[in-house]
């Protein structure tokens, strides 16, 4: 546990000396900010009060594309520069390395989410009687859980390569596949379609958290996806020794 924390904190600090991390944070804040403004103006033109969705919606889409950039470095770079050799010969278990890397990335995305909290605060000032706080909290809890799963997938993908770009695209591919898996499910019969639809990343967010609801089944879904990815990442690091 202590090792995970040590590795996680180093990883978290590492992001603040990495240009990729700043680029990701910049892109997210910029795009969410622009869309926030545009939406505010158009809602105002119709004389309507916008909800928290005008912030959370774009945030989800952006995280989908930027998380792979956050995680592509984690293990791929250690393998490329060889620093993994010192980690793997230190008294640390393989899964502690993987979970530590995940923790660092997760904390970084949480920091970005925290920074984006500025938009709900502004929105709260602009609309009366203020925004639905339950919706806000549920949405952000959902976002955090989704980020946990994204990061876990990214770290697992990063463990397979010593090339960051390959890690980026594999992560993006896996996340997109989970995101769009319900389209083929619609074409399938009831039973098989139901199982596949359960795997859909977006569905667990939009049908509950996005609407201000918290359903245990969605929490369990994201946590299991995180756990399975981290497990596969650990297996991949362990198998690396045998290659």
């Amino acid at each position: 546990m202590r090792n995970i924390w040590t590795i996680g904190i180093r990883e978290y600090k590492h992001y603040f000396s990495s240009p990729i991390a700043y680029a990701v944070a910049f892109v997210i804040m910029l795009v969410v900010g622009i869309l926030f403004y545009v939406n505010l103006v158009s809602y105002a033109n119709y004389g309507m009060a916008p909800g928290i969705q005008i912030i959370v919606g774009p945030l989800v889409t952006l995280l989908l594309f930027t998380t792979p950039a956050v995680t592509m470095n984690t293990l791929a770079d250690e393998q490329k520069t060889g620093t993994i050799e010192l980690l793997l010969t230190a008294p640390v278990r393989d899964h502690e390395i993987v979970i530590g890397k995940w923790l660092g990335g997760f904390l970084f995305l949480l920091s970005i989410l925290l920074a984006s909290w500025i938009f709900p605060i502004i929105l709260n000032q602009l609309v009366s009687p203020g925004i639905d706080q339950g919706e806000l909290l549920a949405s952000y809890l959902g976002l955090a859980l989704m980020c946990a799963a994204f990061i876990a997938i990214g770290v697992a993908a990063s463990s397979l390569f010593s090339n960051q770009i390959a890690a980026f695209f594999l992560t993006l591919g896996i996340i997109m596949a989970f995101w769009m898996i319900s389209y083929p499910a619609q074409a399938m019969g009831a039973a098989g379609g139901e199982i596949i639809r359960y795997l859909d990343l977006g569905d667990h967010f939009y049908s509950t958290f996005y609407k201000g609801l918290i359903d245990l089944k969605d929490v369990i879904y994201y946590l299991s996806l995180t756990a399975v990815s981290l497990f596969l990442g650990s297996v991949s690091i362990e198998s690396r020794r045998w290659r």
Binding site: R10, H14, T81, E85, L86, T89, A90, R241
Partner: protein, 325 residues
């Protein structure tokens, strides 16, 4: 301290090391010698638990590297050949990170101590990315000795350093050898001669020889190498010396000097000097020269290349080098 039995490692179809057996005793500095690609790094990576062997057994301090990897890793300090360090961290932060992973107490004091040992105390707040190769090497060494490991495994610790730094690093290693068991790999033979109590020579993944540096010289040659100097032109004396019974490998090494070897166990100095004087030359010097480890090494690995001998070596690693010829 280190027991290696029947160690074999395959990379796919290529066999990197074949049936290695050796021991390193507590408090010894052992040199692991071999040309590039001999399997030194592979062996060290197996010893540190970075990768498992295909077959064979490695025990460090009584723990098996496969069955008790964490115990072994706690006991071992390791400097990999490429000295992989996080270039975006400062020296102090990096060592602090390793100290936390190693769960050291009083980490700050210990970091100050090791930085002083490698004379890097004035660079502790500098970024690793800005350090020169030699300084990175020293940070790597600091990292390896941070937790006062019982066993130190150093892969080519002086490679890429300038001569002054090489001497410094060698002195550090010698000092460390007083408290730690050290195993270092190198392909620089004088280094092994200077630093190590004992050397293990491998080539193409196979055991070639093992002994103390002094005994290896005598054991290997068995024969003596003798330098001879006369007044006048040495080339006239060469056939004369060559024709003396028991003399082999005569080579002139200067205008008035030559070197020759005697056949194992024969002292030919008296015969040679008598012949030279009888022929009317003034004998100025006749002295024994010891073969450098370089010569020995070349000799050993040259023999090893011959196919009929290589099987012989792998079958019986304890074989005397003389018999390998």
């Amino acid at each position: 301290m280190i027991h290696v039995t029947g160690l074999t490692k395959d990379y796919g179809k290529r066999r990197a090391i074949t049936n290695l057996n050796f021991n390193v005793n507590k408090g010894e500095i052992v040199g692991f010698l071999g040309p590039n690609g001999a399997g030194k790094t592979t062996t060290m990576r197996i010893l540190t638990g970075y990768m498992p062997p295909t077959s064979g057994k490695v025990e460090i301090g009584g723990y098996d590297v496969i069955e008790n990897p964490l115990e072994v890793r706690r006991m071992v300090g390791y400097l990999p050949e490429t000295v992989p360090l996080y270039s975006d961290m400062t020296v102090f932060d990096y060592l602090m990170y390793m100290a936390r992973i190693r769960r050291l107490e009083n980490a700050e004091d210990r970091i100050d101590d090791v930085l002083e040992m490698v004379s890097m105390e004035d660079r502790s707040s500098g970024y690793i990315g800005n350090l020169s190769k030699g300084m990175r090497q020293r940070v790597g060494l600091a990292q390896a000795i941070l937790h006062k490991p019982e066993v130190l495994i150093l892969d080519e610790p002086t490679i890429g350093l300038d001569p002054g730094q090489i001497i410094e690093v060698r002195n550090i290693i010698k000092d460390l050898g007083q408290e730690h068991t050290v195993m270092l790999s190198t392909h620089i033979l004088p280094e092994a001669q200077q630093v190590c109590d004992r050397v293990i020579i491998i080539n193409k993944g196979q055991f070639v020889a093992e002994d103390s540096t002094e005994r290896l010289q005598t054991r290997l040659t068995g024969a003596q190498r003798i330098q001879l100097a006369i007044q006048g032109d040495i080339s006239e004396v060469v056939p004369l010396v060559s024709s003396t019974p028991g003399v082999i490998n005569v080579t002139s090494t200067g205008i008035d000097t030559l070197e020759f070897e005697s056949k194992p166990g024969e002292d030919v100095r008296a015969d040679v000097s008598r012949n030279v004087i009888k022929a009317g030359y003034d004998l100025l010097e006749l002295k024994k020269v010891s073969m450098s480890l370089e010569d020995i090494f070349l000799e050993l690995t040259r023999d090893e290349v011959l196919p009929e001998h290589s099987t012989e070596i792998s079958d019986s690693p304890e074989i005397e080098p003389e018999e390998m010829r």
